[in-house]
Symmetry: C2
Subunit: 433 residues, 2 copies
């Protein structure tokens, strides 16, 4: 082993904080990533895996033998482990489960029954529960029996004898309470809680709206306490959600690995290019309808991309705004018509403004007032259609259960290209020939 390798090994195994080791792996190309991983001692693997993005962590775990996997899995929080087990081969999962204590296995099997995108899939089981009839003084004595409390414990959870959720006792209240008060006296009963089947997006809005650090998760029917969700996991959901729109609009995956290998990247990108090729050929087909017109006035061929491009830009501004509005739950039946109206007026005003500018430049360039009028008309028409499509398309896609961020930009571009070429070349055919 060379000195440099020994030095890297030293850095990876304790000298650097484990979060930084994970960051380093994440920012490394595939080959380096694998080399670095091999330098991490078996006993530190679990700790590092915890902080790696799931997609990358799972690749490593698939290469580990069962024994190392079991050792690593001990370092995981239950909720993270459940997420990962859901993606490992069945036989491995069975071995991991078999290695657990009965209580832990039962908990894990419960967690595994929830889908990744529900509160149940996000929750952890590390709750500290108390009964309502004990006094504050006893609560303190009970807590002191622990060697440590779970991270992000901001509430004790109050449950009945049958584990039904009754309320929370925030530590900030406990610490200022009279020692002789009972939990029932000071607990908070109108606190926010989450049911196990709620989608994670709802969980994220609840945390953001109510400024929560943690929230209890209960079973919708039995009202039994199942676990809790903490803000660190919700922050990941919020980042993913906010990134989702941007990545989808470019046809990229949410969990896109920046340093994915060549073939994987090529395949994923090829699909998106193929879809866009269809829209490009549709646009070309529309231009082809006017072959005769183009043959006679070549200036039209030179100018036509301007009409399509201005429509595309105006449309994607509206589309982006509406997609974000939908993601933030701001847009509904009550304000859609106001929004559409505003966008149409804005489209008309900007259409008139830029049509004038473009017409002036065109008249000057090609010394033709006729072409100037025609391109001005086409710009106004295309910007109005762009506003219409940009506003209504994502709302419609959402209702159809199609992701507006993914499908929206492709369809929008098709519309603004087709309307742009159709109006410009159509007007030219009518007025020039």
């Amino acid at each position: 082993e060379s000195g440099a390798t020994a030095r890297v090994r030293y850095l990876l195994n304790g000298a650097l904080p484990v979060q930084d080791v994970a960051r380093l792996l994440e920012s490394s190309p595939p080959k380096e990533r694998k080399l670095l991983w091999e330098l991490i001692d078996d006993k530190n693997e679990g700790e590092v895996l915890q902080y790696l993005p799931e997609e990358i962590g799972i690749q490593f775990m698939k290469t580990m033998d069962t024994e190392r996997l079991l050792a690593a899995s001990e370092r995981f929080d239950n909720d993270d482990l459940a997420d990962i087990l859901q993606q490992l081969p069945e036989t491995l999962v069975k071995e991991v489960l078999a290695s657990m204590t009965a209580q832990n296995r039962a908990r894990m099997e419960a967690l595994l029954s929830y889908s990744d995108d529900t509160a149940g899939g996000l929750m952890n089981t590390d709750t500290i529960t108390i009964r309502p009839n004990i006094t504050v003084d006893i609560v303190f004595r009970f807590l002191r029996r622990h060697t440590q409390l779970p991270d992000m414990t901001d509430n004790l959870l109050v449950v009945s004898r049958s584990d039904r959720f009754l309320g929370t006792l925030p530590l900030t209240k406990l610490l200022v309470a009279d020692p002789s008060d009972t939990v029932r006296d000071i607990m908070v009963t109108d606190c926010p809680y989450i049911t196990a089947n709620q989608p994670v997006s709802e969980v994220a809005s609840l945390f953001e709206k109510m400024d929560l650090v943690s929230a209890p998760v209960i079973d919708a029917e039995s009202k039994k306490l199942l676990g809790r969700i903490t803000i660190d996991d919700v922050v990941d959901v919020i980042r993913d959600e906010a990134e989702h729109s941007m990545l989808s609009m470019a046809g990229l995956d949410d969990d896109e690995d920046t340093f994915a290998p060549i073939m994987q990247t090529t395949k994923r990108r090829a699909v998106w290019l193929g879809i866009n090729l269809i829209t490009a050929f549709i646009a070309s087909y529309v231009i082809g309808l006017f072959q005769n017109t183009l043959d006679q006035v070549v200036a039209l061929a030179i100018l036509m991309p301007i009409v399509a491009s201005m429509g595309g830009i105006a449309g994607s501004q509206v589309l982006t705004l509406v997609i974000r509005g939908i993601a933030l739950n701001q847009i509904g039946a009550a304000n859609t018509s106001w929004l559409l109206n505003r966008e149409l007026v804005v489209g008309l005003l900007n259409g008139l403004l830029w049509a004038t500018v473009i017409a002036a430049l065109t008249a000057f360039w090609f010394d033709s007032l006729e072409i100037a009028y025609i391109i001005a008309g086409a710009i106004v028409i295309n910007l109005i259609f762009a506003a219409l499509t940009g506003t209504l398309l994502p709302i419609l896609l959402k209702r159809l259960g199609i992701d507006p961020a993914l499908a929206g930009s492709v369809i929008l571009t098709t519309v603004t290209d087709v309307i742009g070429f159709l109006s410009f070349l159509g007007l030219a055919t009518i007025f020039l020939l």
Copy 2:
């Protein structure tokens, strides 16, 4: 007052949670928003303002007289109030400051001295501080003297007699500690802390990396404790950051109000359309260079948007990925060349794949093998340039201190349009004429 109005007034003033009232205002068009605001009682205004996005809140505050503003400002956390004061007229600010107690005024003036995008601008002054030499038992007695502890208190902050920051005492440690231990025995001294001038983006990564609920803010030189930052404010930063790239790529503002009035929207959008018009005219100019070629082979005019559009799509995939990688601090000198190399190979492979498909379709459509070869060549060339530009442009812009999300997409489209038209029409001029 009609029954409906009375009903709405009732809902707005206590029947609905204040967070929902804020959400309702945010999701309302300007006129309804103003009507709703007028139905909120003076005494509830401060509470609602707290939960409104800054841009909207400030519009309302500018219409309030000083007395109402003073009353409302009492409900604000210091950090939020400081943000807002920075945007109100000087005279109002003076009156608000004059109405405060001397201690609070001094704190507020300190907060006002920090810029909005630094840790100082994000911090709050509601810390609970203790000295290292007292016992756990005395800490408990000290806490019980409070009627309540600030929200999101997960740590007590340990300071010296001269207010120098020494470490934290997490409540989770305090609660399991032996009452006779001193704070010094159990406090955490290697805890993360923030200096007042750190940019908020660094604060956000620290919170995400270390899973923090709150962190102390200290003065870089004197090491004195200035305040603390809590996760609820950091979540807003994280959402803004993640949204920033998407909104900027469409030329929209970060704090874009979905329901901004017509004129405001028209003006903001007009600027972006104007910038893009320049790139569209550049593309047209390039096409114009080949007027003679287009005049002779009209098929080229029909097909040329396909070359430009495939380049644009491929380029913006790379651009989006790299912009996100930069935002997540994944991309640096160590991996740029690997990334560029991968993107060039992916561009070449996808170029070859789709060039073949497009060539076959073209040969079939226009019954010309020559045009098929020419468009195939142009597609490969444009996809390679798209990969090059998509990878290097954002890295270069970032080094120049220009926001890659804002300027990147415009410049990229210019490049892919110009290279697309130039290579397609250029090859055609060489081989067809």
